[in-house]
Amino acid sequence: MFPGIPMLNYDVVVIGGGPAGMAAAVRAKELGLNVLLLDENDYLGGILPQCIHPGFGLHYFREELTGPEFAARLAKRLVELGVEYRTAARVMEIRNYSDLEKVVIFTSPSGAYQAWAKAIIYAAGARERHAFEIGIVGDRVAGVYTAGEAQTLMDIYGVMPGREVVIVGSGDVGLIMARRFALEGAKVKAVVELMPYPGGLARNVMILRDFDIPLYLSHKVVEVRGRGRVEKVKVVKVDENLNEIPGSEFWIEADTLIISAGLVPSVKKLTAIGVEIDPSTGGPVVNDRLETSVPGVFVAGNALLINDLVDYVAEQGELAAEGAKEFIENGGIGSRKWIRVEKGENVRLLAPHRLSGERDVYLYLRVARPMEDVELRIPEVGKRVKLSLATPAEMLRVKLKAEEIRNSEKLTVEVVRE
């Protein structure tokens, strides 16, 4: 108890008002739970309101939407259902007193609160990797942004971050920002990719051709120089082991450097209460209800693992809400035994990690390297799924039926040649 801080009571507190959190809150409310949604931004939607390009919602809404449209649909359902939510609410701390007694301490424009709940759904998303994290050295100058920062400036505030741009990373986010800069009249001088292949989906790689943007594969940006503002960046070629090749350096003149070097699940508030983390996803170890190693704490969306489709993020939110319902009703998520899921050949990461075998489940996974004409196999149960192409850029999602896996001790997932 925290004397002097107003106390609120809920069945579930959802942390994060992006697609995972909104879908979770909507589902929890539909299931009859008393729910509070918290988000630290001034508006709901997470990063979606700034993702103004189309390509969202084909699975979840069976319609192609832009990010803001996807967010608006979920927000509308949230409001129609009367879900209680607070924006500009910053979570200071989570405490776990017992399985059915948890407290979320948060501040908001109207003061600090302690929200008590039986279950927590953590959907705080991910953070972007920044320049120092990928070993870029040099001057501390203006004009270095992560892709998301540049996107917020352009597509929320209408401010152009720069005119001559170098982008680090050819994943979907980097390519989409290359297009935004090019459309708005900036010169995108290069997209620099460490790996020997582009990191994004084919539809986004096409952007480079649309705007005649040079792509440097097997290259990295190592240094940024300028007085006050970025003036030039140093690029170097790397060999197949990603080691820099001496003498291959060259400079590109630019006033802006955009870092799009991947996302990392935000899990600090979870590790603080002892949630076990999977080093390969960067997110928590979870069971098939997306419950973490701390009973009654669920996780969904990019805080669980980095997704490439918002549809899966929303799906995970709903699943976590169903988990919370079961947890509250039965005082825990039960299973006669847990089936371990392990990474086999060419699988870089996967979730969930423990399956009950009592319900159908989606496995989400990414491969380690691109391969054509492969099969996803789970030898223990003789499961085989043919895939014409598997690349690290694209998350694979596979449905396992309860009756397929029920009698297994352990499942090994591998992606191998036919």
Binding site: I52, E69, G158, L389
Partner: protein, 116 residues
């Protein structure tokens, strides 16, 4: 004059490598596709590429300083710079409803994708 275009098809996740050969402005050969939809897409991509375009437009009196917009239909690629110029001069006033047609350009509707 023969010109060959190579595309990675984006119609479905298969990602076929499709080649389209064009002679004197006419399609003379398409190879690499595995379905009719892919063939159709590649031919269109080689002869008349179009894109749905998105941007943001400043808005007075809204919760955020901009409203995001998209074209209701795909725009021929060579007209994109002209469209962007048009959008850069646009200014809106709140209230703007999501889905509202906020402007029209050469018969193409500009639709708000965020409210304000």
């Amino acid at each position: 004059m023969t010109k060959t275009y190579r595309f990675t098809c984006i119609v479905c996740p298969l990602g076929c490598s499709i080649e389209v050969r064009i002679e004197d402005g006419k399609v003379v050969g398409v190879t690499g596709h595995t379905c009719p939809r892919g063939k159709e897409w590649a031919v269109e991509e080689a002869t008349n590429p179009k894109r749905v375009i998105m941007s943001v437009v400043p808005v007075e009196g809204g919760a955020l300083p901009t409203v995001s917009v998209k074209t209701a239909d795909p725009v021929p690629k060579e007209l994109i710079p002209e469209l962007m110029k048009f959008l850069m001069e646009l200014k809106l006033e709140a209230p703007v409803e999501i889905g509202e047609v906020v402007a029209e350009w050469n018969g193409i509707k500009i639709v708000a994708t965020r409210g304000a």
